[in-house]
């Protein structure tokens, strides 16, 4: 029995070993390097390798970094909220009302990925710009008197662009969670007197919670660290922590500080994610 188990375990290890190696080299190694860097200091052109918390002290106390961190969190929380709230009805419609060709619908959701992300961000610039599609159309229709300026080169633009980019990633896990709900549970709730609205809040939503939590984490975690979108459509008000990390590693030539900022934001996101996961687990209960 033990021999059998060892053999199975060994086989499993062999199976995942290419992936494991890849992950070790491509993810763990750079991560370790970043962490190591964060305890060193930049001494003009050389790096002082005496371990120190100086970078962390700076990262956590400098008002500029605090502002950027808060703004990053704020933007990603808003983006996540908007994305999940918009994604839920789409996933719901797909799961409950599309009877035929579900695969085609799912395929259509991936259409935005057919062009590069960079191109899509530029397109949003064209849509949201001063003389952009949005403003021109609304001016022509007489709905606005002068071009709206609060939709580009600020926080709003970042939220709009990111919410659009991440929508499919939110739709899919929610869709899967909704698909997993046994339809007889909904009939049972109706049978026991629930109106459709009550049933939604008592059965559908709690059972969809694992998907909602997954969608929240999938959108929240990467958007905190996004730097292309704020760079291109965020103006100065929309800059986020990653832009600062990029500057530290690049122009500012202070990799250790950049590393400390990166590790700090990683820790913050890690804690927030763990919190969301636990709350979601409590709200939705275990679904089997």
């Amino acid at each position: 029995m033990a021999w059998h188990f060892d053999r199975e375990a060994g086989q499993g290890l062999k199976l995942i070993s290419p992936t494991l190696l890849y992950v070790l080299v491509m993810l763990a190694a750079p991560l370790l390097m970043v962490i190591t860097f964060s305890f060193w200091t930049q001494d003009y052109l050389t790096i002082d390798t005496t371990p120190t918390f100086a970078n962390y002290r700076e990262a956590w106390t400098t008002p500029l970094y605090q502002v950027l961190m808060w703004r990053s969190l704020k933007i990603s929380v808003i983006v996540t909220g908007v994305t999940v709230v918009l994604a839920f009805p789409i996933a719901y419609y797909l799961s409950f009302h599309v009877k035929k060709r579900k695969a085609l619908w799912l395929f259509l959701i991936t259409v935005p990925f057919w062009t590069s992300y960079l191109l899509r961000v530029f397109l949003w610039k064209v849509i949201l710009g001063y003389n952009g599609v949005f403003n021109t159309a609304f001016l022509e229709l007489g709905l606005i008197q002068e071009p709206l300026t609060f939709i580009l080169y600020n926080l709003n633009a970042v939220v709009i662009t990111l919410a659009h980019a991440w929508a499919p990633f939110a739709i899919l896990p929610i869709f899967v969670a909704l698909e997993k709900i046994d339809r007889s549970l909904l009939e049972a709730a109706t049978d026991l007197g629930d109106s459709p609205m009550r049933r939604f809040f008592r059965i559908t939503l709690p059972l969809a919670m694992p998907g909602i939590v997954a969608a929240t984490l999938i959108v929240l975690i990467p958007t905190v660290g996004d730097f292309i979108t704020p760079r291109l459509v965020g103006g100065t008000d929309g800059l986020m922590i990653s832009n600062m990390i990029q500057i530290q590693f690049g122009k500012a030539n202070n990799a250790p500080l950049g590393a400390a900022l990166a590790v700090s934001s990683m820790v913050v996101i890690g804690l927030i994610s763990a919190g969301i996961f636990l709350v979601g687990k409590k709200l939705g209960g275990r679904v089997r």
Binding site: A189, T190, G193, P206, G285, R288
Partner: protein, 373 residues
């Protein structure tokens, strides 16, 4: 269509189903169903899969409104009344226990919808859980329950609503044989003691016979026969019902002579027999008689040449199936290819006859059911 339907006319119907037709696109699932279900009875819808029995149950529950026709419950037409406002509760085939709630929350679910005070809900739930023998499982979740326990919770969840009718959609089909037998008895005695009308959907004829007061046998979206279990077994209206309920031996037969009171049948392998006319079902036209049926227990394998019987024929034992208390014989009679199934009780002093032996088969005219086309 029914024989003994006039027996209990004084009891008012709880459910009146009139000309119910249900179409799904071009497919017609129910072809005009009419039936009365009485207050307090255990009623079964029996038929093979796809016969429309579940559709009819769901039409009563309000999940599949009929395309035409009416369903009235307790004298009230249910047209336009959604499932959540009907005085019915359902036990689903999959039990549909809410996985995120524990047993108590599941059972109290509907009472909470009714905005019953918490203390009262707790009391009602405790009461019904002890009724179904589940009072120690209140805090468990669905995945911590066995199949039989889930079934009890599903039943409790329906019972606690005190509905006029409880609808059961193949509730026992997922249980193993032993548990199923036990649950059949429990369900039956529970229904008797609380007196709520139960409507059971099942494809298991034995289950229907054991549990029901009356059974509607359905084929192809129609009720073929509505009768008591005994009525169905003894007087099936046609070959389809006869072969669906229990085991029936069919033999070709035709009328050779007709008188005012009797008709004489020429039956393959068994020979001639005189049947009183009043033994025929009212749908059977003497000119169209082509088959007779005889149940396995109505035939006798005569172990002793001196044993008496109204009629005797010789045959060869082709095969035996030994069940302990019973033995099923397959006996081929001259003039008929398909062996007849004969069941015999294994009483003291009777040994099982080996295949290949020649035996006499005894039969009586009372045991014959006559079928037309």
């Amino acid at each position: 269509m029914t024989r003994k339907d006039d027996m209990n006319d004084s009891i008012k119907p709880m459910i009146e189903i009139r000309d119910v037709i249900k179409k799904f696109g071009t497919f017609t699932a129910l072809h005009g169903i009419t039936a009365d279900i009485r207050e307090g009875e255990f009623f079964s819808l029996l038929g093979p899969s796809g016969c429309g029995k579940t559709t009819l149950l769901r039409a009563i529950a309000g999940f599949e409104p009929p395309t035409s026709g009416t369903v009235a419950i307790a004298g009230k037409d249910m047209a336009g009344i959604p499932a959540n406002r009907r005085p019915t509760n359902m036990v689903f085939q999959s039990y549909a226990i809410f996985p995120h709630l524990n047993v108590e929350e599941n059972v109290g679910y509907g009472l909470k919808t009714r905005k019953m005070p918490k203390a009262e809900i707790a009391r009602e739930v405790a009461e019904v859980l002890s009724l179904v023998d589940m009072k120690n499982y209140g805090k468990r979740k669905a995945h911590e329950l066995s199949g039989g326990q889930r079934q009890r919770v599903a039943l409790a969840r329906a019972l606690v609503m005190r509905p006029k009718v409880i609808l059961l959609d193949e509730p026992l089909s997922a249980l193993d044989k032993k548990l199923r037998d036990q649950m059949q008895m429990e369900l039956r005695s529970l229904q008797r003691s609380i007196g709520i009308t139960f409507i059971l959907v099942t494809h298991d004829q034995e289950e229907a016979l054991i549990m029901s007061d009356r059974i509607a046998v359905m084929f192809d979206g129609q009720i073929e026969q509505l009768d008591t279990p005994e009525g169905l077994y003894r007087h099936p209206v046609n070959k389809r019902v006869a072969s669906f309920i229990g085991v029936m031996n069919f033999l070709p037969a035709r009328v050779t002579a007709l008188s005012d009171t009797h008709l004489t049948l020429g039956i393959a392998a068994l020979g001639e027999a005189q049947v009183p006319r009043d033994r025929l079902g009212k749908d059977v036209n003497p000119d169209k008689i082509d088959t007779i049926g005889v149940r396995p227990e109505m035939l006798t394998v005569l172990f002793d040449q001196d044993e008496r019987s109204q009629n005797k024929v010789k045959g060869e034992v082709v095969d035996t199936e030994y069940y302990g208390d019973m033995t099923y014989y397959e006996v081929r009679l001259p003039g008929h290819d398909k062996p007849l199934t004969i069941s015999m009780r294994n009483t003291a002093g009777r040994s099982v006859v080996a295949p290949g032996s020649t035996v006499s088969v005894g039969w009586g005219i009372e045991s014959i059911v006559v079928f037309g086309e």
